[in-house]
């Protein structure tokens, strides 16, 4: 019987994420500062704490889409957190209020790191891995806002593939430890849905629909 991972285990698991998330934060700060201002960009990172949604919202504001369109774009991007939060709920302990606070630690990487492969999740890994990511995200944004003018384009160094590369290592590890034929079917379906919807659906929507590929688990 393995011991339940602690907060410290979660923080350790998130160490490889600190640099890429920090760099992603810097690029958000650089991009958002001229559009929404440095203070709003920083406050957004500290309160919304969801990179893709923030990029989507700021992009809409920049193209003159208005507040409602920006909020809808951002929330569509974050809609994938809904199935994740449902899945995480049984792992949360304590009072209802405490559960509502702890479930806020559900972001992509913390969700996957907390996944124990059998349909259960570790609360320590979830919250522990969320803390350093959030610090790196907010810190990166502030640095990007402050140094935007002098920082070279992070894409020049290929830094925009560092997060997908991290997800690839997680997926390969996941498949190695608990992959079955059904896992491959789910992955194939999720990839097909994403490719089919990306050209036509609003930003974020393809990932939400692709999460539904997990419903293949209902088949015996």
């Amino acid at each position: 019987m393995q011991r339940d991972p602690s907060l410290r285990d979660g923080m350790r698991a998130a160490l490889p994420l600190i640099l890429p998330v920090f760099v992603f934060g810097i690029s958000f700060g650089v991009v958002a500062q001229p559009i929404v201002g440095g203070l709003a960009a920083s406050v957004m990172s500290a309160t919304v704490i969801a990179g893709a949604a923030q990029v989507a919202a700021v992009t809409v504001l920049d193209s003159g889409g208005g507040v409602a369109a920006a909020v809808v774009a951002g929330l569509l991007m974050n809609a994938r957190f809904f199935p994740m939060a449902l899945a995480l709920a049984p792992a949360l302990r304590g009072s209802r209020l405490r559960q509502l606070v702890e479930v806020q630690a559900a972001v992509d990487a913390s969700f996957v790191l907390a996944d124990q492969g059998d349909g259960t999740f570790s609360r320590g890994m979830l919250v522990g891995s969320w803390l350093p990511q959030t610090a790196a995200w907010v810190g990166g944004t502030v640095i990007g806002v402050l140094l935007g003018e002098v920082i070279p384009d992070p894409q020049r160094f290929g830094l925009d593939v560092v997060l997908p590369a991290f997800f690839i290592t997680l997926l390969v590890r996941d498949v190695r430890t608990s992959g079955t034929r059904r896992t491959f079917a789910v992955m194939g379906l999720a990839i097909a849905i994403t490719l089919a919807l990306t050209p036509v659906a609003p930003a974020g929507m393809p990932v939400v629909v692709a999460a539904g590929a997990a419903l293949l688990g209902l088949r015996r």
Binding site: P16, V36, G37, A40, V43, M44, T47, V48, I49, A53, A57, T59, L61, G66, V67, L75, A79, F81, P83, M84, A87, L88, A89, P90, L92, Q99, V103, Q104, D108, F111, V112, G119, F157, G158, L159, V161, V162, P164, A165, F166, F167, I168, T169, L170, V172, V186, M187, A190, I193, T194, L195, T198, P199, P202, P206, A210, A211, A213, A214, G217
Partner: protein
């Protein structure tokens, strides 16, 4: 300028609400049987989708094939040959940067 602050506040509250819906809707229910299988498959589904989305999505939309594909392919090869996670991430960035510099 006000628009930005309204958007930020609504995004913050909306995101909190999306996540809070999990424990609020699940209540004391423990998932069992086939639903546990669905939940266990959420990670591979989300990861596959995010990887493809982050590799091929254009700005602001559409499908684009660019240097990111070379980086992602490198990451797949690196992960399959059991390179350490950090090496995979550095290699993927390096290959993407090289392809960008050439292209």
């Amino acid at each position: 300028m006000t628009a930005v602050w309204v958007a930020t506040a609504l995004l913050c509250l909306g995101t909190i609400g999306i996540k809070a819906a999990g424990p609020l809707l699940m209540g004391e229910h423990e998932p069992r049987g086939r639903w546990l299988a669905v939940i266990a498959l959420l990670s591979p589904a989300l990861l596959s989708s995010l990887i493809v989305y982050q590799t091929f999505s254009g700005h602001p939309d559409g499908l684009v094939v660019d240097a990111r594909v070379a980086g992602a392919a490198t990451a797949v090869a690196g992960a399959l040959t059991r390179l350490p996670m950090f090496a995979v991430m550095v290699l993927a960035a390096g290959v993407t940067a090289a392809v960008r510099a050439i292209g």
